[in-house]
Amino acid sequence: MTDVATPTAERPTADEPEWKPGRGPIDWMGGWRVLWFGSLAFLALAAAIRIFQQFTAWTVGIDASSRDFGLYYRSLFIAEVIGVTAGTLIWWGYLVRKGRTVVAKESSHPEEVRRIAVFWGLIGITCVILYIMASFWPNQDGSWHQTAVRDTALTPSHIPMFFLFFPLGITLTVGTYLYGRYWLPKVYGAEKGFPWSFFFLIAASVTEMAQVAMNEWGHSLWITEEIFAVPFHWPFVFYGWLASGIFALWAETIIRLLQIEGEIEAEAGQPAEEVA
């Protein structure tokens, strides 16, 4: 593959808007914009909570019966649950409602390429979410629980990990599927059935969330509280492996991208220039 400049030929059809300079289907601030803004937004959210913890975790976060814990941490928990639930339902609702109109229209090649870039952006955001839920917070969970005695399931480390970023994993994986189903019908259209790649990825996010219940039950047993590599933590790993399905998503969409290149060549009536 060689680097090519932003395409100038094959502009969108008259009923679709022409993109501004630098906002084309494969420009960083065009099709890839979702990747940048989405990833940075969730990293910023994790950083903000981490800064909040720096000033509150060891002062008001260690006694769940205190008034200040309720004020600072239980309220954060409630805000997270309400926020992530509302945000998820609004986004999924938008994807389904808007998607039903989008899927009915034929899209041009540049528009489909842009959608694939957006799709990859959503996959990228999912990767960032998975990093935050599987590495960033678990490190804190380990440091907190091997150090402080737990008096509630809603510890300062659990609140952002289990009740914000774990649900966000479900939000992103299901949302990415809905985007693929409606915006990329030639890849993930309903008539093609439910792909195994998404089955594994969504299963990973859902089972991780479900495993939280077993985790909290396990921690109610005294001896298991002591070891971080305790067997009842292992299902988090097994379920996490299911997220390997994400690699298939990249492959499945690159196949369509290559197919688009082939269609462009066919329309032009000659193969693309080859440099031997």
């Binding site: 998975l130 490190n139 150090t147 070891i227 997220a243 298939a248 690159i254």
Partner: protein, 254 residues
């Protein structure tokens, strides 16, 4: 020198001019995948072998050389399969090692150091970068996953231990503490209170390790190498069944 037709064909494919496919797709893939790969490797290590990686005094001679190579080779093996299958790149294990090290280092620095205030020389993470390079090298030379699983995994476990023994060695120096000869790592474990971990020496280095002429660490190392072979095939299963198999199913409906 004559160039065969296959080489010409591959060169033409490599230099083909695409309309919409540029290097950004490669860049986005390699960078974003590093997040999920690093996280998967880190969580596998943390929850399978975390306690033996969190603290200097837990980096012992009985369990550390066994369970850690098993835990960390899994995702590396999976990426080795994926990258070899997709691009014939013998880089998957090293890619995983670097991604995991960055994830782990950020975690240790922000969550163990800056949050709970343990010194980094007590909670530094083990690295698998050197070991991964050797495992990838074995795949490059043998072009065989079976041989890599045997030779590469053994080399991986041994190299992993040697490369991590270097940063660990200063903490194994003898020191006197309350009229007892202990290691510097032991003193760290006693001084930096971990109120939720087992009592000191209840789990770490129990048995006859300290009276066994120091040979047990080599026994553990060899056992660790054999266990790493099993871990390698767990990773192969993940790659083949969960990452690649769905693509084949997808293609059937294409």
């Amino acid at each position: 020198m004559a160039v065969d037709s296959k080489t010409l064909e591959l060169r033409a494919l490599l230099n083909k001019q695409y309309r919409w496919i540029d290097r950004k797709w490669d860049l986005v893939f390699w960078v974003t995948a590093a997040f999920v790969v690093g996280a998967a490797a880190d969580i596998t290590k943390q929850l399978f072998a975390g306690d033996w990686d969190f603290w200097t005094d837990w980096k012992d001679r009985q369990w550390w050389p066994i369970i850690t190579p098993f835990a960390i080779i899994i995702i590396g093996s999976a990426l080795q399969y994926i990258q070899w299958l997709a691009w014939r790149f013998p880089t998957g294990m090293t890619y995983t090692a670097v991604a995991m090290f960055l994830c782990t280092l950020i975690g240790r620095w922000l969550q163990w150091g800056a949050f709970v205030y343990y010194p980094m020389n007590f909670v530094w993470p083990a690295t698998m970068v050197a070991a991964a390079i050797f495992a990838d090298w074995v795949l490059l030379k043998t072009k065989s996953f079976v041989l890599t699983s045997i030779i590469g995994s053994i080399l991986f476990a041994v190299t992993w231990w040697i490369s991590n023994y270097i940063p660990l060695a200063p903490y194994l120096q003898p020191a006197q503490w309350m009229d007892r000869v202990v290691t510097v790592a032991d003193i760290q474990g006693i001084e930096y209170v971990r109120s939720q971990t087992p009592e000191y020496l209840r789990i770490i280095e129990h048995g006859s390790l300290r009276t066994f002429l120091g040979e047990t660490q080599y026994v553990s190392l060899v056992f660790g190498a054999t266990v790493a072979i099993a871990g390698y095939w767990v990773g192969q299963f993940i790659a083949r069944a969960l990452a690649i198999w769905p693509i084949g199913r997808f293609m059937k409906k294409w």
